[in-house]
Amino acid sequence: MTNLYLFIGAIIFGCGLLGFLSRRNLILMFLSLELMLFGVSLNFIAFGKLHGNLGGQTFAILILTVAACEAALALAMIVSLYRSRGSLDINVWQRLRENDSPSKRTDAITMIPSDDSDHQTENSYGDLPKLTPAGHDPLSFPVEVDSRQEPAGLA
């Protein structure tokens, strides 16, 4: 009987995982996370009933709190990301990858074009910070800092 609840929790968790992996809308990816958390809390309550104590319910309520916090923070982040690109597509943000990691062909459309919207140099959006590539020696891979944007006091 309790196995039924564990099965349901596992299936809900798997559906949330599938949604998170396959969706491209930022809001729906966040809802998939909520679905995974819900499956986990169902598992916790089933285990709490199986063991006959109330720790499972307490843990489920904690998960509920964390899910509410996550909803607030994630939606605030989504609003701010949407403001800067005008699109909810997660693939718009693949420009955050490393310079030498493979690019994915995508049909992502940015509604608000940046300064260099003709894509000649892909990873040089104006509002993204210029960082040293990870995994490389920073001395042998110096970052090409645009001299116009460099603060005067740094040199």
């Binding site: 009987m1 099965f7 299936i11 949604g19 992996l21 396959s22 720790g55 509410a68 916090c69």
Partner: protein
């Protein structure tokens, strides 16, 4: 009584799974959100069957109420009326379906392989000692909400306080993140005495 519980559990479980599948399969974000709400509501029914009425009510309020409402607000803010390309085309549907299906298969195999007794109150020795709640393990009475409150505010007091602190931090952080820095703040309060 037991048969009724089992039947209700089966009904709620099937509705929950249908909701989860609808959440995956719907293209419209609003339809997906409504499927999520269906899933969560039937899951709250499962919570009720598991003698967790407080968790059920809190789930209905937080998930099906607050989360869906915030979601719809964000959707109104950001979504255009027509279906976007990122709603129509999924990313890596086949490989992610394989990954999720294998995860579900592994979990179900692991759960069903466990041969320990799964009757809920049959074995009194399994339960971890939890102070007052488990002091009468033989009694079949269901724990009340007041028992849950007593456990939460004695044994798990620090966890509850930590959850409150997380809520406060998340509130401040969300306000800070969502604020638009490009719009200058109106200076009204400085002129008033």
């Amino acid at each position: 009584m037991d048969n009724i519980n089992l039947a209700l559990a089966v009904v709620f479980s099937s509705i929950a799974i249908c909701g989860a599948l609808g959440f995956i399969l719907c293209r419209e974000p609003v339809h997906a959100a409504l499927s999520f709400a269906v899933n969560v509501l039937s899951g709250a029914g499962l919570f009720l069957l598991l003698d967790a009425p407080y968790a059920a009510v809190a789930t209905v309020i937080v998930y099906a109420g607050a989360t869906i409402i915030i979601f719809l607000f964000t959707l109104m803010f950001a979504q255009r009326s027509t279906l976007q390309i990122y709603d129509k085309k999924k990313s890596n549907p086949i490989s992610s379906a394989l990954a999720a299906a294998s995860l579900i298969a592994i979990l179900i195999y692991g759960i069903s392989r466990d041969s320990r007794p799964t009757d809920i109150v049959s074995s009194s020795g399994i339960g971890i000692s939890t102070g007052e709640v488990n002091s009468t393990p033989e009694s079949p009475e269901v724990p009340k909400v007041s028992d849950l409150g007593r456990v939460m505010y004695t044994q798990y007091l620090w966890a509850i306080e930590l959850a409150g602190a997380i809520l406060l931090v998340a509130t401040v952080g969300a306000i800070h993140i969502a604020r638009d820095d490009s719009v200058p703040e109106p200076e009204t309060a400085s002129n008033q005495p």
